[in-house]
Symmetry: C2
Subunit: 379 residues, 2 copies
Amino acid sequence: MSKRDYLVKYEDLYKIAKEMFMGLGYSDEQASTVTECLVEADSRHKHSHGVAAMMTYVSHLRAGNLHLDAPAPTTVFETPVSLVLDGHSGVGYCIADYAVKKTIEKAKKTGICITTVRQANHYGFAAHWSEMMAKEGFIGMAMTNTVRCVCPTRSAERNLGTNPITVAFPTADEEPMFNLDMATCVMAHGKLVRSQVFAETGVIPREVIIDGNGNVVTDFKEALEILHHGDDRSECPDPHTGGLVPLGGVTETLSGHKGYGLAMLVELLTGGLAGGTPSKFIPLAHEGICFFFMAIDPALFGNPQEVKEHIKYIINEYRKTTALDPELPVIMPGDKSRAARAKALKEGIELSPEIVDILREVAKLTNKEKELEAVVHHE
Amino acid sequence: MSKRDYLVKYEDLYKIAKEMFMGLGYSDEQASTVTECLVEADSRHKHSHGVAAMMTYVSHLRAGNLHLDAPAPTTVFETPVSLVLDGHSGVGYCIADYAVKKTIEKAKKTGICITTVRQANHYGFAAHWSEMMAKEGFIGMAMTNTVRCVCPTRSAERNLGTNPITVAFPTADEEPMFNLDMATCVMAHGKLVRSQVFAETGVIPREVIIDGNGNVVTDFKEALEILHHGDDRSECPDPHTGGLVPLGGVTETLSGHKGYGLAMLVELLTGGLAGGTPSKFIPLAHEGICFFFMAIDPALFGNPQEVKEHIKYIINEYRKTTALDPELPVIMPGDKSRAARAKALKEGIELSPEIVDILREVAKLTNKEKELEAVVHHE
């Protein structure tokens, strides 16, 4: 952590953030669910999905785009192994929480369940949902389409979401030892927009975003302008607005078409199977986002304990891989996140001055300024 | 096609290739299944998985690594929505064919089925299997681990497979209009090894393979040496042998860890859920390869016709994307392959002189030289 950073105890951040959400009009239950997701994200150094998002929700509330009074999700269609829900444009985290709990409940009976959701909203830190399933003993998979910000291969039209895929495996150990959580573009929207390094240097030294002519953009300010272009409108952006680059890069040379293919796959599994909206038509306020959840019981493949032992065996075989640099060992998807969380629980969550400033703004709006200052401090 | 290339009618290539396989000792049924996969691959310009593979099978047969007399796959474990098979080191294509047919049969009853297979062998062109499910009206997913050839992020130890993922969707049209088929590395093993361009120029002008020190290899001969190093042994290769680069590149800068994460995901879904062998321990002859198949009925999410119409709607919305270069339109995964197949059915399959030379070698071994010359010709 940098010397500028603040430290706050996990439970303190949870308490104050929840109070602020309730001050903004969230119900006790809504505030609990949202706060848990955000604080969990901050504890794992995924600050792009942490409490800093509060200010975004304040704007959405002001614009009338966040519907705290939306009805609870309703069932559109159901079979013993599947469920289609309508989220009625409610709070994304709460819709996801409802959907994942239902998915687990159904998978406990049949061994497998796929749940798709239409008319949802941003669900934050995706690995939270796959891990929720893994902690109940299932292989958990979660996908979401998002606001349009990625360009298909061969185009500069920003019409795909960052469309993250997350999959967590339960193992013979208590905690999930594998939790892949990846946007299908080179760099996720939130990570780019909130990058401290890019903001400080003004430069993006990588192939992560293109302009309307398909050229790689290295100027951070220009990148932000591209990402925000057309956000005030609900229609599809003009062609050639530029946007994020799919995993694999701009061209097909290093297989950018594979990242594009994965993003399209997520469009079809989420919007496609939910009868919902593709990312192309999802506005900045995230109304219309669609989810895909799947829980798979290891008991479908034999004695569940043995299956989980075998998963652990394979993970451990790959953990033995010799690293090029002993200081940078070969790790599993989810390792960094789990280590960061363990440290945060012991030593406190690190928050940058920028994040604390956002919290201060929301604290002012909700009369929690004193309470906030009492819990955030430099080391 | 180049002027050097040969043309052969689909049905002629099928007939002669099947006869040659039978000449090598394959049963009528084995030869039919294998030949269909190979000729389908050639018809789609996926020559790395086409009839040129015959010579590899000849070597495996000679080395005693290809077991034509292996027993049919047996059931290790089964539930109404899942199946675990043991392939008994038989012919990979035939094991996959059996597994996919069983997956479809079971999914017809319950709407969903996951089948995993241990002790299988190379199943060729992966999209063949996802498409088989899509043609029966299911969303079809297929994955396989493979011979070790990819290095995890931060390592030069070649221990992951190319671990391709393929997913096909049925749509309201007859043919699957989306069929993603991607190795989780930048460039698949077969594509690299059989690249005519790299062979002619001697240079690989891309970040697709690293040496034992983690440096990108641009010399084609050196790349082949790296890929074949340790192939004569069944144990794990020495650390720092070098190998293929995961999708996203060597470092984490452009998210190479995402390609690595996807490759690990495939290890866990195939070997992990089949109680089988990880790629790390799979020798050149492919003995021990594991599969993962999943068929999902669109009827799990509502009226199946409406679900398929909605999938088509989303695909078509993305087909409207404005291309940077009108000569290079934005396409869907599977489009190139389908167009190539349609052309090949009408005009014949294009085969390079190198591929025809391989066929001639096998024809010599099986006394089919005259028959082969009668069907392959220049345009």
